[in-house]
């Protein structure tokens, strides 16, 4: 593990975290999707860096898959089939003010560092910051799902959580069996397809697919 490698990995991970913050701080659906796309491209760069370092063909395949599916496929599908068709622009259904949300996000990032301190993680990974950063991305995605009430924002929040887990997976363990990684991808694609169908079904029934309208059931 060379220092240039570690520097690159840390840089990409920090950028991934920044784009999670950007999602939290934006009110336009188009931006959410755009930031998610950039984050996913960065993630594929991380996968490529680790693949180059470990010389692992399976990880190269994952880097390409990430680029194609998360960086291009999901953003294009969301834009074309939801944002354009339902003419969604501004997210008005936010439970907390943007600045409060960002402060909570900062606290969660600190918490991720605290939880992933060296005593929890013995072994060789102490020289990369990627693991605590990945946990921070997971928490920020969760925060996005909680404070945003619109179904599309919740969907993107889940995708950010998933990106965080993926970042953790490739930096923490690097060599998950390929069949498992491929299965995770398959689940992600199927999940997004079903969620897109549900969101457009809800939009037809309720005129606006905001979770604020989802109040008939309380349990």
């Amino acid at each position: 593990m060379t220092s240039a490698y570690t520097t690159l990995l840390n840089l990409a991970s920090v950028l991934i975290l920044l784009f999670a913050f950007a999602c939290l701080g934006s009110k336009l659906f188009d931006r959410y999707v755009g930031y998610y796309a950039i984050q996913s491209v960065l993630l594929s760069v991380v996968a490529a860096i680790v693949a180059y370092d470990l010389d692992a063909p399976a990880l190269w395949a994952l880097a390409v898959l990430t680029l194609l599916i998360k960086g291009v496929g999901i953003p294009v599908a969301t834009r074309r089939y939801l944002l354009a068709r339902l003419s969604l622009k501004r997210d008005a259904a936010i439970a907390l003010g943007l600045s409060t949300t960002l402060i909570i996000g900062a606290v969660l990032t600190g918490l991720a560092y605290f939880a992933m301190r060296p005593s929890t993680l013995p072994g060789r990974l102490l020289d990369t910051a990627a693991v605590p950063l990945a946990m921070a991305v997971v928490l920020l995605g969760g925060l996005c799902m909680v404070v945003r009430r619109h179904t599309i924002a919740q969907l993107l929040g889940w995708l950010i959580v998933e990106n965080g887990v993926f970042l953790g997976a490739i930096t923490l363990v690097a060599t998950f069996p390929f069949i498992v990684e491929a299965g995770i991808f398959l689940d992600l694609v199927a999940g997004v397809l079903i969620m897109l169908a549900l969101v457009s079904g809800l939009a037809q029934r309720l005129a606006s697919a905001s979770a604020d309208d989802l109040r008939r059931l309380n349990g």
Binding site: Q154, P177, L198
Partner: protein, 490 residues
């Protein structure tokens, strides 16, 4: 031979996914679904017999791994699939005749019911914790389509809530799985094997304790979301009440058990390093679920939601039993898994016929079920008594075992707490269901044609018969299977 049985057990239900695309309508789809379930059950029982008398099945470096614990859960889930498959017949025929379901909806039902069943049965038969995660998440996705099937605004809402909360939860379980992998970093085996349960279990005493502790918490919160442990249970009442009733039975009696199976696997990994840490965490979450389930049952007007809260309560009981641990606690937990699965299938399927007849889920609008449909009325009455733990049904025996386990543990006062919560649940639950059964029936109930009615009665009678049997006598083979599973985990 063992491998063939294992493949048959998860592949046979897929017949229900193929038939509707070959042109079958409600009748053919339901017949294929029920037949697939029955075939899978037969294979699962044969598989259990072979595993108990021989060795665990381990192939492809542990990607296929069936021991007695898996075999027990596979048989339980296959039994539920069979009962729910039979229940699908009445549901699909009645809704098709009434024109409530289009041909496409019947196809979607057949396809996703089959995928849901097959994915759960496959998840129980893999030793690779990553693949387990993939299959559990996939079964969530398949079942979300079933919840949304009737395409009302409320069912779409319930499906959204279900898919977004469960997917988030299960993603947390994936983080936990990563940390389990990481905790095995000093175990010198190939990377694939660090995710394989039998390998991890064999090296459980050298796993890294700090990351293992973190991993178990993440896994419990993650898979606990699927199980419906409080406070991660909020999706459960909505999804169970909005799904078609046979699908509700599958969610409650099969999906929750699959999540619990995953938790049991991880619990077994923690014992050598962390001692009673996992037990204590399970006790806390279990009692929280018991409390939430019992309290929310009070004054719950929608009877399908009532059944759902009862599921939360029962999953709490199972978690508590695992928390008490020991042979007694573990035996009680596994027996409770089986008896709850049968009892809850009977309740949701009889509740399904009530929905078809009265067109409502509101318990106060349902009166006089016994004179209108004697079999369903009786099944609802006896099923309620059974699930609440009245003798002579099987749930009594399993809950009795768990209460005994609690008094045998160090914290015997928890046993009194458990009993008090069971009493609250009894009063709240039976008050609602008993008044549905008696009284004079309102006008304007729908009638069902003869065949769906008769087929619909089969799972109710069979389920109640099994519960009665398990209350009076535990077959030697089942006893041996459970004892074998306990030995494999200790």
């Amino acid at each position: 031979m063992t491998l063939t049985l294992s493949i048959l057990a998860w592949a046979l239900p897929l017949g229900g996914a193929i038939v509707p695309w070959a042109g079958a309508r409600a009748r053919g789809t339901a017949a294929a679904t029920a037949a697939g379930g029955a075939g899978s059950l037969a294979a699962a029982i044969a598989l259990a017999v072979r595993i108990v008398s021989g060795h665990p099945l381990k192939l492809l470096g542990g990607f296929i791994y069936v021991d007695s614990l898996s075999a027990f859960f596979v048989a339980t889930v296959a039994l539920v699939v069979t009962l729910a498959g039979l229940g699908s017949y009445a549901y699909l025929r009645a809704e098709e005749e009434r024109g409530e379901l289009s041909a496409l909806q019947v196809r979607l039902y057949g396809t996703f019911f089959a995928l849901f069943a097959s994915l759960m049965l496959a998840a129980l038969q893999t030793g690779n914790l990553g693949l387990l995660w993939v299959l559990v998440e996939a079964s969530t996705l398949a079942s979300a389509v079933l919840v949304a099937l009737e395409a009302r605004a409320t069912s779409l809402e319930a499906a959204w809530k279900y898919i977004i909360i469960s997917s988030f939860g299960v993603t947390i379980a994936l983080v936990g799985t990563l940390f389990v992998y990481y905790s095995a970093i000093l175990v010198h085996v190939s990377p694939d094997q660090r995710l394989t349960w039998p390998t991890l279990f064999a090296h459980a005493s050298v796993l890294q304790a700090p990351s293992l502790r973190l991993a178990f918490l993440l896994v419990l919160v993650g898979y606990g979301t699927k199980v419906g442990l409080a406070p991660m249970h909020t999706w459960l009442p909505d999804a169970h009440s909005e799904a078609p009733s046979p699908a509700s039975a599958m969610l409650s009696a099969a999906l929750l058990n699959t999540g619990m199976y995953a938790i049991i696997r991880f619990q077994a990994l923690t014992t050598p390093q962390l001692g009673r840490y996992a037990n204590n965490v399970l006790l806390i979450f279990g009692f929280a679920s018991l409390l939430v389930g019992a309290l929310f049952m009070i004054g719950c007007g929608n009877f399908k939601r009532l059944f759902a809260y009862s599921s939360i309560e029962h999953m709490g009981i199972i978690a508590v039993a695992l928390g008490f641990g020991g042979v007694l606690g573990f035996y009680g937990a596994l027996l409770q898994t089986l008896t709850h699965a049968i009892g809850k299938s009977v309740l949701f399927l009889s509740g399904g016929e009530v929905v078809l007849r009265y067109r409502t889920r509101n318990a106060s609008e349902v009166r006089g079920l016994l004179p209108l449909v004697p079999v369903t009325g009786l099944a609802l009455l006896l099923g309620s008594l059974a699930i609440l733990g009245s003798p002579p049904f099987g749930v009594f025996l399993s809950e009795f075992t768990i209460v005994r386990a609690s008094f045998a543990s160090q914290a015997s006062w928890l046993g009194f707490f458990l009993l008090a919560l069971l009493v609250i649940a009894f009063v709240a639950f039976s008050g609602t269901t008993v008044s549905m059964v008696f009284g004079t029936r309102p006008r304007g109930t729908a009638s069902l044609s003869a065949l769906p009615r008769r087929v619909g009665a089969v799972p109710l009678v069979a389920g109640l018969g099994l519960l009665l049997l398990l209350g009076l006598w535990i077959p030697g083979g089942l006893n041996e299977l459970i004892m074998h599973a306990i030995k494999a985990m200790a």
